[in-house]
């Protein structure tokens, strides 16, 4: 299958700590892949390397070039450049811009797709004004799809928890990614909200054609969503496969539950 993300031999050291040790992972076009593992396994570090927050110690990160079939290395690019290339992410703890409105939060995501510079913003020529108007419309459309239309002019910090989570995804979508990285999107959600999130992620994949890589602890969600699952422990990839294969994999069971003791 054609890949949109290909990570090869990724390693990340923090001083003497080896947080990631030669991890390989690929995400195909339109695929949903889950990255699971016990706490501290290196899942979020993996995300941070891919999105340019940490420059990896070793290995290669390749992503698809928009509109073309070939892959390009993105190691060492700044996060804003990675986002421009077509990757977007959300965080484990909600990181919205709390003192901006819901609409502004999404419009900020459109920022990197807008052409007008500072001079344009100040002088406000016709093209800048048109560009901004279309940004408002597009942002509004995204908010409607996410069921956030009733909140457009509220401050992000005043939204209910589930809505804040959805707004994070909406903001990420506004950057027009072909790959979305979700870090524990269901954290803190009740079963009903998790079900809604399940539908939402499926819709994002089918309607927008966006591939998804997610970190999640809610196994029900992981099993229902994922095409493939990748398991990491102590910075190493210990298993990979379809949900059914993973469910019965002894190495995975050992990582989660510990080794069986012979009495």
């Amino acid at each position: 299958m054609e890949s949109v993300l290909k990570v090869q031999n990724l390693g990340m050291n923090f001083g003497g700590l080896r947080a990631l040790d030669s991890v390989d992972l690929a995400v195909g076009r339109n695929e949903i892949v889950a990255l699971i593992g016990p706490n501290g396994a290196g899942k979020t570090t993996f995300f941070n390397c891919v999105t340019g927050i940490y420059p990896p110690t070793e290995g290669d990160i390749l992503i698809a070039v928009r509109g073309k079939g070939d892959l390009k290395r993105i190691n060492g690019l700044k996060p804003n450049r990675v986002t421009e290339k077509g990757l977007a992410r959300t965080f484990q703890n909600i990181r919205l811009f709390p003192h901006m409105t819901v609409l502004e939060n999404v419009m900020i995501g459109r920022h990197c797709r807008m052409a007008a510079g500072i001079l344009g913003a100040v002088l406000r020529g016709g093209s800048t004004v048109r560009e901004e108007q279309s940004a408002v419309q597009e942002s509004y459309a995204i908010l409607e799809k996410m069921g956030l239309a009733p909140f457009v002019n509220d401050f992000a910090k005043n939204l209910p928890y589930g809505a804040q989570r959805r707004l994070e995804i909406a903001r990420a979508m506004a950057t027009e990614p072909f790959l979305l990285l979700l870090d524990e999107p269901a954290a803190g959600m009740n079963p009903y909200e998790t079900k809604e999130l399940d539908d939402l992620i499926q819709r994002v994949r089918h309607e927008e054609g966006i591939a998804i890589l997610l970190i999640e602890h809610d196994m029900k969600l992981v099993m229902s969503l994922s095409d493939r699952i990748c398991v990491v422990d102590y910075g190493r990839k210990i298993a990979q496969g379809t949900p059914d294969e993973i469910r019965n994999n002894p190495a995975v069971i050992k990582a989660y539950l510990g080794e069986e003791m012979d009495a």
């Binding site: 999105t51 340019g52 927050i53 700044k78 996060p79 804003n80 986002t83 421009e84 977007a88 992410r89 965080f91 990181r95 811009f97 709390p98 003192h99 901006m100 502004e104 419009m107 900020i108 995501g109 920022h111 990197c112 797709r113 807008m114 007008a116 500072i118 913003a121 100040v122 901004e132 940004a135 903001r171 990420a172 506004a174 950057t175």
Partner: protein, 300 residues
């Protein structure tokens, strides 16, 4: 009553000048949490640039109002270039260093710029011509407020409106607000944070330069040291209002301006600074985050 009004308007004028400088402090702090001690020097450089341009244009025999406008524009461009360069040289390399390092770097930059102007120009006070003509319609009120003060008030008002518009409604303004709330997240939604910081320095320097030109033509004297006192006062104003908050900086500036003006008028001009700093001490004791400042909640 006239005397009260005179002091009130005098305080408003002072406050406007402080506000123009305090904006730069507060905007920079809002984004990179740095007290840019070199900011007062940018304002001083603005005044010097204007003086040089004015001298040249006066020799050429231009109309005074035209001279003032051209000098103002050139001072703004020149100071912005300085602000931009200072950030690139003295702060950008220290972006990930402890905050104290950047602060020391800022103090160093401030001393460097003062001495650079001292060497390049002179240590003497230089007369700065007042180029604002006396408006005739102001005649009946001339004992309360002068034409220069009116120009200062109007210019400040226009700058504030433009700045509010820039920050509230433009794309770059949204990017500035986003970066001030969460820099990493701002980068992850595709904002070039380095560029946003540069723009902040340029905008802050431009308003400081406008303040420099206005106060120089009001006071009539400049030297290489004016940036220090003005910078400290504007800093006090920014802290008073709540550093990082733009409306706070403006409010703090007006409060400081009025305090000084009334203290001078009703007590003695010797106590001007005493009252200004007394205010700072009181605010820091009773409301450390400033009048409109957000109280910081640090999660452990």
């Amino acid at each position: 009553m006239d005397y009260f009004l005179e002091l009130f308007l005098g305080g408003l004028t002072r406050g406007s000048i402080y506000a123009l400088i305090a904006l730069g402090y507060t905007m920079v702090y809002g984004i990179i949490e740095l007290i840019n001690f070199a900011h007062g020097e940018i304002y001083m450089i603005g005044a010097f640039t204007a003086l040089i341009v004015i001298s040249v244009l006066t020799l050429m025999g231009m109309n005074t109002v035209a001279i003032l406008v051209i000098a103002g524009v050139i001072a703004v461009i020149y100071s912005s270039a300085y602000g931009y360069t200072v950030e690139k040289i003295a702060y950008k390399p220290l972006r990930n260093a402890p905050r104290l390092s950047a602060l020391i770097s800022a103090i160093g930059m401030s001393l460097f710029l003062q001495n650079y102007v001292l060497l390049a120009q002179t240590s003497d006070f230089l007369p700065f011509p007042n180029l604002v003509p006396d408006f005739e319609f102001m005649e009946p009120y001339a004992h309360i407020i002068g034409s220069t003060e009116i120009v200062i008030l109007l210019t400040t008002a226009v700058v504030m409106v433009l700045l509010t518009f820039l920050i509230k409604f433009t794309t770059i303004g949204k990017a500035m607000r986003a970066a001030s709330q969460d820099k990493t997240m701002a980068m992850l939604v595709g904002i070039n944070v380095n560029r946003v910081i540069s723009v902040t320095f340029v905008v802050g320097s431009a308003t400081a330069a406008i303040g420099g030109v206005l106060i120089a033509s009001h006071v009539g004297m400049i030297n290489f040291y004016i940036g220090f006192i003005a910078g400290i006062k504007a800093f006090v104003a920014a802290v008073l209002g709540g550093i990082g908050s733009i409306p706070g900086a403006v409010l703090g500036s007006f409060i400081l301006g009025w305090t000084e003006s009334f203290a001078t008028g009703y007590v003695s001009s010797d106590y001007e600074d005493v009252f200004a700093f007394l205010f700072l001490v009181l605010i820091l004791i009773f409301r450390p985050s400033g009048i409109l400042g957000r109280t910081e909640k640090n999660k452990v």
